[in-house]
């Protein structure tokens, strides 16, 4: 019985990252990466096309900031709320 629970614990330890399966982690990372790339391109286009781009750019920069903080740095896990 103890052997089974130890094996289960080892299996979880070697297949999960921050409480999620590795495959799911990789999928999340790829999605965030794509989102960051798209937002960066949008930022660039706005900066080139718009005369006073400060206000239009702010939400995009803020969104990129939040995505990195949350999904790459696992900020809410530090606060003890959920685990990304």
């Amino acid at each position: 019985m103890a052997d089974t629970s130890e094996r289960q614990a080892f299996h979880e330890l070697t297949t999960e990252v921050h409480g999620r399966p590795l495959g799911q982690r990789l999928k999340i990372g790829a999605l965030v990466m794509v989102a960051l790339a798209v937002l960066t391109v949008i930022e660039y286009v706005i900066a080139v096309e718009v005369e006073h781009p400060l206000l239009p750019l702010l939400p995009f920069a803020a969104l990129k900031f939040v995505l990195i903080l949350e999904y790459f740095m696992h900020f809410t896990a530090v606060l003890g709320r959920g685990d990304h």
Binding site: L13, T14, L26, G29, M33, A47, L54, I68, L69, M73
Partner: protein, 191 residues
């Protein structure tokens, strides 16, 4: 005998609390660094408003941003791989991250050469530009060094699913460097 038990309990308590203390310490450190970056970012707006020189190398800055974003995903993978015991994948991802970090530093050096001619540090915008980019490039360099340390230790068998905190710490710092660039890039090039 009793002393030994108390000592054992103390060391067990230390082992249990050490990772939490390490994490808290890293977050406090990153928070203090954020204040430093914030001071320079606000100085840029106070001294030169939203004015920026015409001869900024936008294409290079966009390329550097992409390099840093790609390095962030490879760092993310390195953390995920070591936490699940995939050592070879961890080593490869960390190497890729370091290479992208070095490419970023190379790009910054190239950019500085151009910037020194167009808006030298003596100008208002030049002061903000060189201070912010310099501070950030120094952080990228220290991030590369931290990753090189965990890469070398990982290559000789350190770290694994039960002990991945040092890698996590170095990777978090790398993401922090990326996070600061997300604000610095529009601050200096886009606004």
């Amino acid at each position: 005998m009793a002393t030994v038990t108390v000592e054992a309990a103390h060391s067990r308590a230390e082992l249990l609390h050490q990772p939490r203390s390490n994490k808290l310490g890293l977050w406090i450190f990153m928070a203090s660094e954020t204040f430093l970056f914030s001071a320079l970012i606000s100085a840029r707006f106070i001294t030169s408003g939203v004015q920026k020189p015409e001869d900024l190398n936008q294409a290079l800055a966009f390329g550097l941003t992409c390099v840093l974003l790609v390095s962030s995903i490879s760092a993310y993978l390195a953390e995920a791989f070591i936490a699940t015991g995939h050592r070879r994948a961890f080593l490869a991802s960390t190497r890729i991250t370091i290479v992208f970090g070095l490419i970023f530093i190379g790009g910054v050096m190239f950019e500085w050469r151009e910037a020194l001619e167009n808006f030298p540090p003596g100008t208002i915008y030049g002061t903000a530009f060189f201070s912010l980019i310099g501070l950030h490039a120094f952080h990228v360099l220290t991030g590369v060094l931290a990753l090189a340390v965990v890469l070398n230790l990982g290559a000789i068998g350190h770290f694994g699913p039960a002990n991945s905190w040092p890698v996590e710490g170095a990777v978090k710092y790398w993401h922090f460097v990326d996070l600061m660039w997300v604000i610095i890039y529009p601050t200096l090039y886009l606004f």
